[in-house]
Symmetry: C2
Subunit: 458 residues, 2 copies
């Protein structure tokens, strides 16, 4: 797929260069808006408005929605008031609200001036809800029906109003005070044989809905869990105010997954894509954790310093520090990654903490013993016999392997428990991932190692 | 949400215990199939068939599809042939194929015996496609139209055939040889004013489709990118064979994300949920990487042994090994996580490698300098003055901080380049994450450290 798209991209740039606008238009009209948006993101600034004006009105608006905000801003600045009005009129309300949120103040002023009064009201309503809430990602355009309409009247209403709605496939049945009573799908309407059946008789009343204040991640999870095309959003009084559609839910899930992965890698999440981030942006999102973890490594330094007697007596011990810390860190991050993911998929709750610890203990014991046995053999065969390091005795080998086994067990328990604790404290479990766990496990593994060394070797 | 659900769960278990079956049935019928499935997963084995028989037929089938395979198998074994036939008749073909794939041979035989001949043929067709291909996740049930039908005829056909189809909202226009010609949405049909308009005139011919062999991850990405409800799947001759619906795409994305995270945590991906995995399952998926990484730490041990002269001359050097290795590992995994995620979102290609290295180099320089300065001050203020460690000289402090800065730079470049290399070699970039990078960076940081130490201190 990707290769084919790159060929199209090159051909289009060539046509643009050769000023073959008629041919160019013929290619563009059969393209998908998402692909056109990708095309724009790889283009020089001055070409963007030129190419955009070649698009027919509806396709232009659809492509505009999919573009990155840099290209959108550039285009709006190049638009006449009339051109801007044409685009704004074609936008769905939630896309318009997104746009307004991302543009600088002077651009926002122009957009709102060109929007018709009803859209301006809707945009302002959506912008009043807290960021990352259902209210802030919903659209206020949906098809609403009344319980006493017949199936035929309902279909007629959809045919009249549908053109401006983001989805017509799920219609919401509301009372005259806008209280949400039920829902009907177009499938239900079409498959009902008697056109005179009142909506009341076929509507689904066992409703799943979000509140305007519900977190967008929870909304996305509800949509995925129940495989809905759209989820209704109600206000504090149970009045219907909008819907969140599945495509917005997919975007939210993608964003939240990226955020989880960034946190797991010790990065402060940012909304910019990698290639759009400057070195300075990357620096700002990476330095806090690096700095914190570097400074907290003071403890490992102190542990080593305070066990200098053991190290001085048995110089060979130093050689195994990286292996011990590394294996401990890896063991811990395996457990934390597993638990973090299970939490984010709602497969685990804090109440399962007992089962988690028991499962991790047994897994850790298996891993610890397998690793210790392998390590014992490796040290003797490779380090002692093959490399001829005479400093390594049976006792040193034993100390290393005992410490390894105990470290793995502690690391796995710590790695699995900390994300659960974070969850119950209301923090994001993903923070308790690899970098954080590693720092704790580093200190623990050294302590265990030196305590074994001191009691068995000195 | 979760809390409310737990209350419902407890109430239902109580009713089941008290044998209040009529009341229980009233509660169940207003529940969503996904929630009922969750309910079953928390239940004792002998209660499952009992509760299942309380569900009305259609809801029973819908809930059955959402259940974990353990519960499904248990239920099938408790079904009479008649009960099994009722459930199988209600299943969509793709769900039936999924079921057949997951059940043991003797259960499969029973299922296929109860399926009607057409469904058996479709199931067998789907099962012939390679695992993780579009063919293996598609459904063969969709609404197909002919180009010469009128809008009215098309709507009539949907009303007649729609009840058995997973989605009716996107209909596919095919020629008599089943070649895919175009698509029409129900929205287009409803919004076309003239009922006599032929489908040919309103169908979309600029089609995006998958091949039966297309990887399921690519299919899911196409559905998300274009915000489609369904994607048509064609065979090698361009004949329509099925569709993949958006809910299956969401499931694929969830699976692939979990797999990425597991690989990033040094775990061999498995399809079992955490609570369903035994300690032995977890052991098997975790021990390979742990073992490999433990053994590869032999190199760090060898490096330390071969620089024993430097360590013996300046015992204080040992104390900073964990900090150096830890910071190097964290720096590298930050870069690898960022690049891995950007690759999986198609924001990066291998061709961007030059831009990536240049960006990472500048970021690393900023991070390296900031960390080195902070570290220099910390060592002097804390380790030397506060803790009174007289062994630490200006020169040792300098060696540590120089090594730190160089390590961070190397770690960030290695961390960002390896996932790109994996991608171009056709491997999963997620393998090149934290555990793997850490092992390389551990060795590099020690080498850099001792080389600086030897040239500046000895």
């Amino acid at each position: 797929m990707v290769e084919r798209f790159e060929i199209v991209e090159k051909a289009i740039l060539k046509m643009l260069e050769d000023k073959k606008y008629a041919a160019l238009r013929d290619v563009l009209v059969v393209m998908n808006p998402s692909d056109i948006a990708v095309l724009f993101s790889g283009m020089e600034e001055k070409q963007i408005p030129l190419l955009f004006r070649l698009l027919p009105k509806e396709l232009a608006a659809e492509s505009f929605v999919e573009m990155e905000s840099e290209a959108q801003e550039l285009l709006i600045r190049s638009f006449s008031d009339n051109e801007l009005k044409e685009i704004v009129d074609e936008l769905y309300v939630d896309d318009a609200a997104d746009l307004v949120e991302e543009m600088p103040a002077n651009v926002v002023k122009r957009i709102l001036k060109q929007a018709d009064p009803e859209m301006r009201r809707s945009i302002n309503q959506i912008l009043r809800y807290p960021e990352y809430s259902a209210g802030s990602i919903m659209t206020t355009e949906y098809v609403s029906l009344r319980p006493n309409m017949t199936v035929e009247e309902a279909i007629l209403r959809i045919r009249r109003q549908g053109v401006d709605k983001e989805t017509i496939y799920t219609c919401y049945v509301t009372a005259s005070d806008r209280k949400l009573l039920g829902l009907v799908t177009v499938k239900d309407l079409l498959l009902t044989e008697n056109d005179e059946t009142p909506i009341r008789d076929i509507m689904l009343t066992n409703l799943i809905y979000a509140n305007t204040q519900t977190d967008q991640e929870d909304v996305a999870k509800m949509l995925t869990k129940y495989n809905f095309l759209a989820l209704p959003v109600v206000d504090g009084e149970g009045r219907m105010v909008g819907i969140v559609t599945f495509d917005d839910a997919m975007d939210v899930i993608e964003e939240e997954t990226t955020e989880d992965m960034e946190l797991m890698g010790g990065i402060i999440p940012s909304e910019k894509t990698y290639l759009r981030s400057t070195a300075w942006d990357l620096f700002k999102s990476r330095i806090p954790w690096l700095m914190l973890l570097m400074l907290s490594a003071t403890f490992t330094g102190l542990i080593i310093t305070s066990f200098e007697d053991a190290l001085a007596a048995q110089v060979a011990l130093t050689a195994f520090i990286p292996m011990l810390m590394g294996t401990g860190g890896n063991s811990g991050s395996q457990s934390s990654v597993t638990v973090i993911r299970a939490l984010s998929l709602d497969e685990l709750r804090f109440g399962d903490i007992g089962r988690v610890i028991w499962k991790e203990l047994r897994t850790a014991l298996l891993c610890g013993i397998a690793l210790a046995v392998a390590c014992f053999a490796k040290i003797w065969l490779v380090d002692r016999m093959l490399m001829g390091n005479e400093q390594i005795t049976w006792m040193i080998d034993l100390v290393v392997c005992l410490a390894l086994c105990v470290t793995v067990i502690i690391a796995k328990v710590v790695g699995s428990v900390l994300p659960l604790v974070a969850k119950v404290l209301g923090a994001d479990p993903a923070v308790m991932a690899s970098p954080f766990i590693t720092t704790i496990v580093d200190a623990v593994s050294l302590l265990v190692y030196f305590l074994f060394a001191r009691s068995l070797l000195l």
